[in-house]
């Protein structure tokens, strides 16, 4: 199980290749890639702040719980921090399970957590300056589905 926060851009396909390697008893691998949207010029960059040692530990705790809850063979989470340009990947989650339902549900669950409750602070830089972002009502409702 890998959880990592990184300031450098990552390439989702390369992570999926690594994650799939050598699996002959895993039937299903689901991946999610979240990409920074340009929103037609309204967003020039995202800035994500983490608390090193706290943010990764919290995410690791949720990841371990998901592994047990969904009976996963394995999972991986990579998350960008710092300044992220439109078109760049922000987050990559991959889940491996014997059957597809568990792999889908675990990835869906982890993303709901990461998008609404994970300890990040997010700033959006646009043509009118920067503003701090909070989770949307939809993000909060999505996360509550798993409580």
């Amino acid at each position: 199980m890998i959880v990592r926060l990184q300031t450098e851009p990552f390439e989702p396909g390369a992570l999926l290749t690594d994650f799939c390697r050598g699996r002959s008893e895993t039937g299903a691998v689901v991946s999610f890639t979240g990409i920074a949207r340009a929103s037609a010029g309204a967003t020039q960059a995202l800035e994500l702040e983490a608390y090193p040692g706290f943010t990764d530990a919290e995410i690791g705790r949720i990841a371990e719980a998901a592994r047990t809850r969904f009976g996963l063979d394995d999972l991986m989470i990579a998350h960008r921090i710092g300044r992220i340009a439109p078109g760049e990947a922000i987050v990559f989650v991959a889940t491996a399970a014997a059957h597809r339902r568990e792999a889908f549900e675990a990835a869906d669950h982890l993303m709901d957590y990461l998008k609404s409750r994970a300890p990040f602070w997010k700033k959006e830089h646009g043509p009118d300056g920067a503003r701090w972002i909070e989770p949307t009502a939809r993000d909060l409702a999505d996360a509550e589905r798993w409580d």
Binding site: G34, F54, H79, R117, W132
Partner: protein, 81 residues
């Protein structure tokens, strides 16, 4: 040496993200008062709903006693990634 950390909008409002203190007040509530003593905007932001504190990277609720060398972080509502 103790460390006090601010994140997100708290750091923007205060104009600093990290302070090192030779000694800590006895309790978390006194530390909060100390760092916002000459900054009413920070005092207000620290009192806003949803602001949490972590001591040595563990979330704490309510007030608590502090000891030398601790790392105290004040965290505004988390946004998710």
């Amino acid at each position: 040496m103790a460390r006090v950390l601010l994140f997100g909008r708290l750091a923007d409002i205060a104009g600093w993200r990290e302070r090192r203190l030779d000694s800590l007040p006895a309790r978390l509530s006194s530390l909060k008062a100390l760092i916002a003593a000459d900054d009413p905007r920070l005092a207000e932001a620290l009192a806003a709903p949803g602001v949490q504190a972590a001591v040595d990277k563990t979330l704490v609720r309510g007030d608590m006693a502090l000891a030398a060398g601790m790392e105290i972080a004040f965290l505004p509502p988390m946004s998710g990634g």
